[in-house]
């Protein structure tokens, strides 16, 4: 091992590397995460068996514990950076880490988009009697005709009033043709406009930060968070309309299933992204971030752009075609 060679280079690869001290955060995170999922699973099982029990409380304790651990863990990581302990190399590692984390999120959505694609192009038509496969599939669900959106389930066609999966019925989908107040009253369009704008506003915030214009930075960031809140509120209204007015629910067959799972997970990610941006706003308020050291904010904004792209796919595949 010859450690003295090249030491005069200005390359930052040669910086002393910061290996963090021992840390209690990981093990605490594991314990609280275990508590959360054990409680949640117990709670779901108790719900299904219609029993009372402590599952829900265990989950809440686990959740609060987990969130606190993450809070203090991130806090420490931020403090280390502000004390100048992070080398440029470590900062690049964070960038790689966030990038690959977002890729993993992309693949999570990919599974659900894949399910939608498979049902609409293969499973659905076969169930409705199309092609060689359809000939015998339709023996099981005789008389079922496939259309998308599935507003009357095979279950209803065969079992009538005894059906478990009850579709929303004709003209009760989220498609523009079924929109009640014309295209301008069509929520998804507004949500698309809002989310796309918010990607632009977060970019303006970034430009402001890069130009050391903190007022521009903070106000555009605040606007982004507000747009996120409006988006979530509109989605809440949409869900309310679906459940109350249209009778379109998670239980109403594969259309409701894919609709709510895709938009629901997206909405959850919007919530996460909004929380990240909100934390960045609070940090900005406390004087964090400079034009050359703003990984926290940048990673939150990358996440935000990712959420935006997922929405564009959703808008196209779930609402339009």
């Amino acid at each position: 091992m010859s450690s003295e060679t090249h030491m005069t280079d200005s390359n930052d690869d040669y910086e002393p590397y910061y290996v963090p001290e021992q840390s209690a955060f990981p093990i605490l995170a594991s314990i609280t995460l275990f508590c959360l999922i054990f409680g949640l699973a117990t709670f779901f099982n108790q719900l299904k068996a219609d029993e009372a029990g402590s599952g829900g409380y265990i989950a809440i304790v686990g959740f609060l514990g987990f969130v606190s651990v993450l809070f203090f863990w991130f806090r420490q990581a931020i403090m280390e950076n502000r004390q100048g302990m992070n080398s440029l190399q470590l900062k690049r590692s964070y960038v790689w880490g966030m990038g690959w984390f977002i890729f993993s999120e992309v693949m999570f959505f990919f599974a659900f988009f894949g399910a939608l694609f498979y049902v609409r192009n293969f499973a659905g038509p076969w169930l409705g009697g199309e092609g060689d496969k359809g000939q015998f599939m339709n023996l099981l669900w005789e008389g079922y005709k496939y259309t998308w959106p599935v507003l009357e389930t095979p279950d209803q066609v065969v079992n009538g009033a005894k059906a478990v999966f009850v579709g929303a019925g004709a003209h009760n989908s989220m498609y523009p043709a079924d929109a009640h107040n014309g295209l301008l009253g069509w929520l998804p369009m507004w949500n698309t406009i809002i989310l796309l704008s918010s990607s632009v506003t977060v970019h303006f915030a970034h430009v402001g930060l890069k130009n050391d214009n903190r007022k521009q930075f903070k106000s555009w960031l605040l606007l982004t968070v507000l747009l996120a809140i409006v988006f979530l509120y509109l989605q809440y209204m949409e869900y309310h309309e679906a459940y109350v007015d249209l009778g379109l629910t998670l239980e109403s067959g594969i259309y409701g299933t894919t609709f709510f799972m895709l938009t629901g997970f997206h909405g959850f990610h919007v919530f996460l992204g909004m929380t990240m941006l909100l934390i960045m706003l609070l940090r900005a308020q406390n004087g964090h971030f400079t034009h050359d050291d703003c990984f926290g904010f940048e990673s939150a904004s990358w996440y935000w752009h990712f959420v935006d792209v997922v929405w564009v796919c959703l808008f196209f595949f779930v609402y339009i075609i």
């Binding site: 590397y17 999922i37 590692s93 092609g131 599939m137 669900w141 998670l250 299933t257």
Partner: protein
Amino acid sequence: MGDHGPAKGFGRWLFTTNHKDIGSMYLWFSFAMFLMGGVFALVIRAELFQPGLQLVEPEFFNQMTTMHGLVMVFGAVMPAFVGLANWLIPMMVGAPDMALPRMNNWSFWILPFAFALLTSTLFMEGGGPNFGWTFYAPLSTTYAPPSVTYFIFAVHIMGASSIMGSINIIATILNMRAPGMTLMKMPLFVWTWLITAYLLIAVMPVLAGCVTMMLMDIHFGTSFFSAAGGGDPVLFQHVFWFFGHPEVYIMILPAFGIVSAIIPTFARKPLFGYASMVYATASIAFLSFIVWAHHMFTVGMPIAGELFFMYATMLIAVPTGVKVFNWITTMFRGSMSFETPMLFSIAFVILFTIGGFSGLMLAIAPADFQYHDTYFVVAHFHYVLVPGAIFSIFAGVYYWLPKWCGNMYDERLGKAHFWLSFVGLNVTFFPMHFVGLAGMPRRIPDYALQFADFNQIASMGAFLFGFSQVFFLFIVIKTIRGGKQATDEVWENPEGLEWTIPSPAPYHTFTTPPAVK
């Protein structure tokens, strides 16, 4: 930060940020799971020793087949490779530690909790998961025991652990290499792990999506896998195998890297075809995404699907053949010696090739209609996993253990362990080809009388193989506690930065980067 050594007491292991500590924990955890999964397997083999039902109820037998698969895949093989990655990748690329040391600790410490939860389902009302490690719907949804909910969440956090571990490995490889360590100078173990980590990040979220769909179907009335609501149970198999096929390469690519390190050392020749090894690994990874439905030939796909997946699957034989060719060519006219790691590696090349060929047989869609769900399939994937993944891990442990603990293992005992394992595994799994071709179905606790002889032989082999691993434990502990002092190089002129540091490797290595020529 400095040269502080390990902390005192048990806190060292709970709070550590050191890649060597974490690597050791991964390896010990993996070995514990290997023994537990092995006990499950021996329950299966004991029941199958004779036709008829002797030892366990069919319901419990199903739980054993399920848990054996889950524990071996997610608890034994994957963590063992992550443990090796933790120990070796920083030393191989000349980095002081993993890129994100605290997250590294978290990736590990999720696992004991996940497996405690998974194993505890065996004691729950209604029993543990009984639907096979592939947990096909509706067995795992409509007809599942209540413990399936715990299983789902256990899989979720195992996936989180794998994703974080992989992000760490990729960041380490791409960002922490010593100056001069260009990508095409990296040891193949590093290359294969880079590609494996990419596969993991790509498919573990799909598995998470898959179990999430199950959770929703079970508890919240969705109809992903229910035709009554317009969904399709076959959808489950597509989503699962989109994860599952890359997953089987996740369990073999790092093994390729290990034998690619060992064979050149004991053949005393540089590896033949380094660049083609890298490209072959990348091709295998790419192909792994477009072959998943060859697990589902009998499910009733359109003929175009059958043909596409059949040809795409056969294509994998090309890059795999490149690899086998390179290993053999490396040995060709080499100055060979047969220390334990080399024995395991040569057995790897031969037996993995057998497993690969039975895979080619299974890839032929019309023939697969006959083989599907028989013991032939069991024979095939055990031939790629046991002398494939597991033997490579043994080989790696014997090869690098002197570097880790500073002592040489006892060569006679190591060779004894090799021959016991080699005989045991072939006696166990080779007869399964025959009973499978003759039509014995897998995952069934009873069988027709004509299969009795081969099953008895297989069961005896299984117990031989199983107890040989206790012997392995003894050898490893003996080596850690003492033995001949290992030199820094350990072997004769081995390739790689890890042999330039003292044995045992100091707690912190490469705090300043080494020079790479």
